[in-house]
Symmetry: C2
């Protein structure tokens, strides 16, 4: 016959997420999770949502969650798409919008999954280099392309681009869909959601995994004009009619109800982050030139000790941070903002490690 | 520039699932859900699993669930893949294994999602006609192909193929992956799981949505040799690192623990099904010639009243069954086996409808 089944396999190089350690003693500052739990009311709703109704399929249209998100953001339900974390939402968006022959553009230093999706889906792409301070050069996106995607604030740098610069990029590209991945926007950045009504080619994605303390539930969403959303729904409904389970739908809805808990959690993280910037500076760490993190993590290099070594030594002490052994960023650590107590443990251990390595 | 963003969109014709009515009075026999709830212990575990740990990502390797499934089926954990319902598992399998230039083969009357996935993923395919009794002709699968997939028992017919016939197909196709979709196997069929050790090109998929009363949790899995599973994991990890949320992982594990509840539920459904065959026959319905359902649904035509009309009239009475307006099967209804009480309501209403239409 015609060969071997192995010839027909899709060969891919998967994304590698930060280590999900099971150790209860670990200080886990490597996947940008929220250090605070979801609101008690959310946990209560989740418990109550799990009843005999589980024998039935969840609502394939996710109406309750979509209506709650539409109300929250002041858009129409037909402008909201939900998925299994923003990774699922972004993967669906790549499948839906990036089917042209021109390359999709994204920054060379960015969320590593963009390249993985493009490779997996056989989408042509080009990585546009950030400048020496790891800032986006908007002119790099004023050229023929099959789509544009970048996070704002960027990951793993934490740097924020102003709405005006993003608007210039969106306006300059009526021929392609521009996806702004706002996974970290709640930590102090200004959202481009306000531009959605003006531009039919702008899609904004969000997640419950960072600011809303629900990484374990896997909830993400996208907002855009109705035509974008309905195209994504067609693709999702050609993939899996029911991606969101009953618990996720209930949890996602409930989490939007307690705005004061949400705001309080954000304030605490932002306060700890600002303090961490100063504390880490005193330990000899610095951010990229002119680089201020607007996210729930810091991106820092040490003045004398290589990042890879610090990463390894922290790991031996069960303190997990993220290290990317990649060109241009291989001397940086990405450190999630934890509770003040977790951060003190980090500072103490860093002090010891830096002392050790000096000897 | 180069045109319009609409030119780069993936155009698809999505799968349309059975209506998820919200009406509490509805008798819902249209999506092959289990009429009995999950075991009380499962609901308890789900409630307890939702704690402050939700702030963290779930285990991307789904170790707890995968180990439980491996134990249950007597295979190695490296032979198990889990996903968001068997739809997610099958979609991942299509993406992973069906990347050749030869057509993928599946029956003309079968799970309608196969064609949707093939179209969406631009996979060449050919539909092989079942015989006049809606049986699979195994010879149709002894030819060049890029992969093979069919359900056993088949949907929407409920007909079962013997393990020997499937083994012939698997053995005749060392050059392609053969996927046997066993969504309904627990309702009385003999599984081909026993062949997995012998054939490196056989993948068997299962779901918690039918026999395990957990459609609302979205859990499915596949079993095959390690090389097949690791290829699927690479693709999944190139799509979304965490597809299973914390609740689904806990529920899926807990559901395997109560074998006696599971067996009892199955017995009740099988008993109701056998009774329903007789009751429906008396009302003038019949299955395809020689066709016996081994699933949790019946596939029936009426001797005088068109299926589309019965479907519509049942729907007006808030009794939901499934009707496919497609060639060869447009005079059949697919009716899920409900509780004995639900079935009595069905029989009563059918009696009235058939009387009406005779007048």
């Amino acid at each position: 016959m015609n060969g071997n089944w192995r010839d027909n396999i899709r060969r891919v190089a998967p994304y590698v997420p930060g280590e999900q350690t099971m150790s209860p003693r670990a200080v886990k500052l490597n996947t940008n999770e929220n250090p605070y739990p979801p609101a008690p009311e959310v946990l209560q709703v989740i418990r109550e949502s799990n009843d005999e109704g589980l024998r039935k399929y969840p609502d394939p249209d996710c109406r309750q969650l979509i209506h709650a998100l539409a109300d929250y953001h002041g858009v129409k339900p037909s402008q909201v798409f939900v998925g299994v974390g923003s990774d699922d939402v972004l993967a669906m968006a790549f499948m839906t919008f990036f089917c042209g022959s021109q390359p999709v553009l994204f920054p060379d230093i960015s969320y590593a999954f963009y390249e993985v999706w493009a490779e997996m889906l056989r989408i042509p792409y080009r990585k546009q280099p950030l400048d020496d301070g790891f800032r986006l050069k908007k002119e790099d996106y004023f050229q023929k392309n099959g789509g544009i995607v970048f996070p704002n604030p960027n990951a793993p740098t934490g740097l924020l681009e102003p709405v005006s610069a993003i608007e210039e990029i969106v306006a300059a590209n009526p021929e392609s869909v521009v996806i702004i991945d706002e996974a970290y926007i709640d930590f102090g950045g200004e959202s481009v959601l306000s531009l959605v009504d003006k531009y039919d080619n702008l899609l904004v994605t969000r997640t419950y995994s960072k600011s809303r303390s629900l990484a374990g539930m896997r909830i993400g969403y996208a907002i855009g004009q109705e035509e974008l959303i309905s195209s994504m729904l067609d693709v999702r409904n050609s993939y899996n009619s029911y991606t969101m389970n009953q618990t996720a739908l209930a949890a996602g809805t409930a989490a939007l109800a307690d705005e004061s808990y949400f705001r309080e959690t954000l304030s605490k993280i932002i306060r700890t982050r600002e303090d961490a910037k100063e504390r880490m500076r005193k330990l000899g760490f610095s951010a990229p030139v002119g680089g201020e993190s607007f996210s729930n993590f810091l991106f820092l290099a040490h003045e004398s000790v290589p990042a890879g070594l610090i990463f390894q030594k922290l790991r031996e002490r069960e303190i997990f941070v993220r290290y990317f052994n990649k060109p241009r960023i291989d001397n940086y650590l990405r450190i999630t903002i934890g509770t003040p107590e977790q951060m003190e443990i980090l500072y103490d251990n860093l002090r010891e490690i830096l002392k050790e390595t000096e000897v």
